[in-house]
Structures are given as C-alpha cells and as structure tokens.
Symmetry: C2
Subunit: 421 residues, 2 copies
C-alpha cells in the first residue's frame, strides 16, 4: 500500500536537513530599492564614504569655539560676532576664530575653527546689533556635533550577502546610493488541495463534505515567509489527471505544495503520482505529530511537499519544512524556524512514542520578564480554531514530558505580549 | 520663530491619544478571500454549521464497535465482516452491527452504529475471505473519531470585527464559505522628504549633502504596518512650492508623512505650510527623544505627520505615531505598539529631563527563558546603523535610570531570539 520503499519515518530535523541539501537559492535579480523590502541581499555592500561625510550640526544654533563661552550664563551672556549663516546642504565659507560664531542649521557642515554648537534656544540676537548673538549657556567641546564617520566608517561592510532587507537596511542602502539592488528572486509556490471530500470555498456545504481551508491558509503562510503563492484549486482524484495537473503546475512554479492524499489508505495516491512524474523522493513520514505523513520529493530541482490534509498537520508541516525551503531559495542563510526557551505554566504529560509532538501554546511575557507558555486546549490535528488562541508550537520530544516550571522549547508563530487580565 | 501657539511639548502617550481621537477607520470594502491576508475584518463571522459537520474518521482504517474488539491482540485477532468502503466525501450506506465493520478513509463520515475506528496498520485482510478483516488491537470508544462540532460549534462567533486576518483566520473563513470578505480599506501613505541637504538615492554624493534615506525607510515601516506607501521624493524648499506639493499629495493619499523641516530654525517651515494649507495642528513637540520635534495635524480627516529629519528620530516617531494611525485607519481596535517587560543586562543612567528616552536595544531570550535587554552602543539620532543590531526600543521615563537586573519596558521591533555565542 506504500509506494515508497524503505519508508521508516525520520526525525523532523533530519527531514529539514535533507530538504535544504537538495535545493538552492534562486537566481539573482536586480530590482529598484523601493521594491526591495523583504528580499534577501545577494551582494555585500561596502561603505564607499563616511556617514556622515563631514562633521555636522545636530541642532539649529551657532557654531563656535567652546572656550569662548566657557563662562556664559543666563545672567551673564557672552556676545559673539556672527560671520555667516550655514543652511543644511551648503558649505561654510568662513573660519571661526576667537569671538566669532556662525549661525548653523541642523545637518549643516561645521565650519573650520568651531568645536561645538550651542542650540538656538540658548541664544538671543543682540537687539542693538544684528550681526551679533548673545549666548546664555556654556557648551562642551563636541556638543551638538555629529562626527564624520559616526554612523558608518568608509570601507566597512554595511550589509552582507544574505541579509533580509527591512526598513533600516533599505535606509542604509539609500545612504550609499544603491538605487537598484541585487537580491535573490522569491519562489513562486503552487498550492494544490487534494481530497474527494473537498468543496470550493464558494460552494454550498453538503453532508459528508467540507470546504477547502488549507489552500488559503497555506497561501497565507507562504506569503508571510516571502513566497508568492499561486492557488491551483482542488485536484482531480484520479492518478492520471493529478499527474497531468502536477506536471502542468511544476512548469510554472518553483515549489509545489499539496495537502491531503498522503495518509495510509488506498484512496491516497500522491506517492504513485510522484513515481509517475519521476519526482525523486527525499523523505516519506517523519517522527513528528501532527503531520507525521508528509511526502517530500524533488522534480528538476523543484521541491514538492505533499502535506497531510488535516489543517493542523498542514500548518505544522508547512512551518517545519515548506517555509524554510522558501527562505532558503530566497537567499536566507539561516532559514530554519527559530526556537526559544520558555517556562511551562503547567505540566505536559509525556507519551510513549518516538515522535516529537508540536503542541499549540500561548507564549507570553510575565510581569517579571519571563517567557512562559500555556498549552492550548484543543490539540487534535483536524482542529484549526485553537490556533487562534496560540502563538507558538511547543516542542515535546518523544517519550518526554514536562513538569510545571520546567523549561521547554517553542517555535514562535507570532508576537509575544504580556497577558491581559 | 514657532508658528504654533501654545506649543509646550506633550507626553508621547498624550500625543498618541490625540491622534487616535481625530482619525477614523477607512471605508469597508469587499475583497476576495485570497487577497485578504493582513486586512482587518469589518464584520463578525458566526458559524452557520458545526465543524466538522459530522463525526469523521481521523485515520484510514475500519469503523467498528469498540465492544467487538475488546479482546483483540496480535496473537488473537478478531475477525469482522466488512460491510462497505466509505471514501472521504461520501456518505455511509450501512449501519454497523455486532461483528461488522466498514472500511473508512481519513475524513469520511462515521457510519451509524460505529463508536470507534481502528487504524489500517493494526488490521489485515483475512486472506481466505476478502469480505472480512482481522483486527489486531482493541480500541476505546471514540478512538480516531473527530466529533461533530469539535473544532467550531454552530452559532458561535468564529472571528469578530477588527480581527487581523492571518493564515489561520483565512482558513476559518474558507471553512464557512466566506469567498468574499468585508474588510477595512488600507491607507495610502504619502511620503515626502524635506531638506536642502538631501540628494536623491541615484545622485552622486557631494560635500555637505547626503542622500535621502528616510524616504525608503519610512516606506518600509509603512508597508510592514499594512499601509501602502507612495514616495513623492524630495520636497521643494520654498514655502509656496511645498504648500502646492503637499496639497497635491493630500488629494491622493489618506495619510501624509514628511521628514525634516521641523527643527527650531528659520529654514524650517513645515509649521508655516500647515497654516497656509489650513491643516489643524494636533500637537507640536513631544516629551520624547529621539524625535522631540514632531508636528502632527489633520487636513480634511487626513492626518499629516511632519517628523524630525534625523533617521533615528523619523524611525521612532513613525513607530510611536504613524504606524498606530495606519493600523487604526485599517480597522485595528488595538493599534498602539505593544510593550513588554524585560530585565536590564546593564545599568541605564538616568538623565535630568522630562523627556522619555527610547534607547535602541537588543532583547533576547536567556537560557532560563528570561527576556533580557542589552543597550546598543550608538544612540545618536543621526545614527541609523545601530538599529541593525537592535530589535527593540527601551522606554526610559524622564528622570529615571535602571540598575542592572532591574525591569524595564521595551517596544519590540522584531523577533526575539536566543543569543548565539
């Protein structure tokens, strides 16, 4: 009844390792910086100049010599001669010498001879003398000056290959004039649901059937991981037709994800289709629950993931295997989901099995800054609603349980927050 | 020199409250479910049927009466007569009675009379009798049956108005046949950079100038908060031209964000433009650093945020004020950034000021499950690079410092991870 020889289930970490060993990053493309959010950088960018390129004022005020205003106070201001006004974007023309200052705007270059800037709020124009300023406060050398190279020094690597581009990274690329940026292409991910019990979302419900919820759920997970989902609907349930459909999809996408059709019975036939289309099987079944029956193969460098049809199985399988593949093909050097240590609120009963269980839970921040986890009530693999009150998967190794207060590892699926009462 | 009367700086929480009091959610639109990821639901969706709608099998196997196989074992199997085969999506035709079973597929409805399912792996076809099955294991009542209503009960609210739609929410909407979904529109956010020192990203660098990094950075922040950024380049630095430009942009967008042009000097003129275009000032200056000088107004229900030009000021201002406005206008009922409690790795020196400081830091998970924060080295408001090694803003109230080991509050900007050595 199994189409795959030597099909002992393997540990999920081994499954992850196997997937990453057979795929590779997609080709490098060059795109406008304004479109680059969420892409992985394909080049290392080195600073070709200091940032800032010059000592600049961080306030509106007067550039001066700190030693000239060492005794300045509100009751005893120091009067300085104003040489010029330096707007941001313009170069100073005059050198500051003893007893002089120049009006300077935020971001403008510090004139030669000045070693500090006093904020305009601490000064006043000398009424009787428009070419002078009264300074009401002393300043220290370096005050309100952003030094050349303070942010980034010339010659340093600003961002290295493989960096995920977020708002800060885009800002730094802009600073260095990278208007077009070399990134890895993002994978198109075909999504196909299988199962004779499935209805399309817009079909009326009838006894014995249910609507396809995996399609749009998997598409959402793919999008969040940076892939471009393409939904191909509900698959035909004849081997020949499914074979044709899958080959047709594989021409158009970089990754194919199916859900359903991988359980043990004879109505499940994904393995047969793999054989027919000449997809090389990478693994079949893992020591993980939910989602133990998962079939992964590769067709002309394109990974195919045939996930179990129950929604929780599909979700967990996608998190463990599909999303890392998307990130790796997108250029990430660190594509596996991250685990963090948390403290168990309650005991988690151990079960006599080799399988690692992934329990839905809510990780929250306690008032003392501790990460703690509550296990969600419904864990059945056909239940989707319990994910609404969950934000993590708690990893429970085979045979192991946890006492209340013991440390466990979780995969975070969303933000952690403090619990509200 | 200030264009705004009564311009005492206000606490940042008060600024946030004021913004949310003058804006409202955008109109409700109906979009295909497949496009709804990241939108906020504009209706409450109630379950119009149980999920599952019927008791269904969670495995491939045989539906039977648990009492019939109570003594079944590998050495002493129980033989049952097979009545029919029930594929997923089909309705059973026969009732299970004593000594009978029906072959059943994952997801198929449980036939009348059966109270458990035994996995196919624990059975064997009786060789000499193709209409019988040998069961090698006892089962308990309810085994491998997903009960009607186990996931969602008919009549319950599945998702309430204001819910952010993620993959799980999309899956649940699909289950209930919501092929088109009512959501709040997302705001278009115009982004305009001001400053005579600015160059476009594709211009060569020249002394005294710098390239506009805020534009693409703010666009990235806007995208991540679900807004649709539209970059309008670098603004003219004459009041009349800027006035015309801003009015032109305001016709096209729901929110306008400028950066630069709000410091204290006379080259800064956003306040004057606000007056000229008849924008109502909501607040001017906050007791927060970086980003103290921020001017917020409203023009025909559209908020305008004039942020300070230094990149860290712009970033923090956007996080505190602009992103909550985007989320609120997108339909979020909980738009303010979340704070969590963490433990300080090192002391944070207090400063004699009323201003709340937002220090860049790295919040990480310790091996004992504690959230701890390290303060980043460079905190100057013109420095952008230090955000690369940060994932949070540590809130340091005016006048307050922290000892090592003391608890502080942070705004998380990204995922928390364990530190690698």
């Amino acid at each position: 009844m199994l189409y795959i020889p030597n099909s002992s289930p393997i540990p999920f970490e081994e499954a992850q390792r196997l997937i990453l060993s057979v795929i590779r990053p997609l080709p490098v493309i060059t795109i406008p910086l304004s479109k680059a959010l969420g892409y992985y950088l394909a080049e290392t960018v080195r600073a070709d100049h200091d940032v800032p390129m010059f000592d600049r004022s961080t306030v509106d005020g007067y550039a001066l010599r700190a030693e000239d205003v060492i005794n300045a106070s509100a009751s005893d201001p120091v009067k300085l001669k104003v040489l010029e006004e330096i707007p941001a974007g313009y170069l100073p023309q005059q050198k500051i010498t003893q007893g002089t200052a120049s009006r300077i705007m935020t971001g403008a270059p510090i004139p030669e001879g000045a070693n500090a800037v006093v904020m305009v709020e601490k000064t006043e124009n000398a009424m009787e003398d428009s070419e002078s300023v009264l300074v009401y406060q002393s300043v220290k050398i370096g005050d309100a000056i952003a030094k050349k190279g303070q942010d980034v020094e010339e010659g340093k690597d600003v961002l290295t290959q493989g960096t995920l581009l977020g708002p800060i990274e885009l800002g730094l690329l802009a600073t260095f004039g990278i208007a077009s940026v070399a990134v890895y292409a993002k994978p198109k991910v075909g999504i196909l649901s299988t199962g004779s019990e499935l209805l399309n979302v817009d079909e009326p419900i009838v006894p014995g059937k249910l609507r396809d919820s995996n399609g749009v759920m998997l598409a959402g997970q793919v999008s969040q991981a940076g892939g471009e989902p393409v939904y191909f609907g509900i698959a035909p349930d004849k081997v020949e037709e499914l074979e044709k459909k899958m080959l047709e999809i594989l021409q158009q996408v970089d990754i194919l994800v199916t859900s359903g059709g991988v359980s043990m019975g004879e109505y499940d036939f994904l393995g047969k289709v793999f054989e027919k289309i000449n997809a090389k099987v990478i693994f079949w079944k893992t020591l993980a629950r939910p989602g133990m029956p998962v079939l992964c193969g590769v067709w002309q460098d394109k990974p195919i993931f045939a996930l179990a049809g129950n929604p929780a199985s599909s979700y967990v399988n996608a998190h463990l295997y599909v999303l890392p593949a998307i990130r790796y093909m997108s250029g990430s050097k660190d594509p596996l989901p991250k685990r963090v240590t948390v403290v168990c609120d309650e005991a988690i009963e151990g079960k006599q099995m080799l399988h690692t269980r992934f329990l839905r839970g809510l990780t929250y921040v306690s008032p003392t800054g501790e990460l703690r986890v509550k296990i969600s009530k419904k864990q059945a693999s056909n239940v989707l609603s319990s994910f609404l009150e969950s934000n993590c998967l708690v990893k429970v190794p085979g045979g192991k349980g946890f006492n209340a207060g013991e440390k466990a590892e979780v995969y975070l699926l969303g933000a952690v927050e403090e619990l509200r009462q």
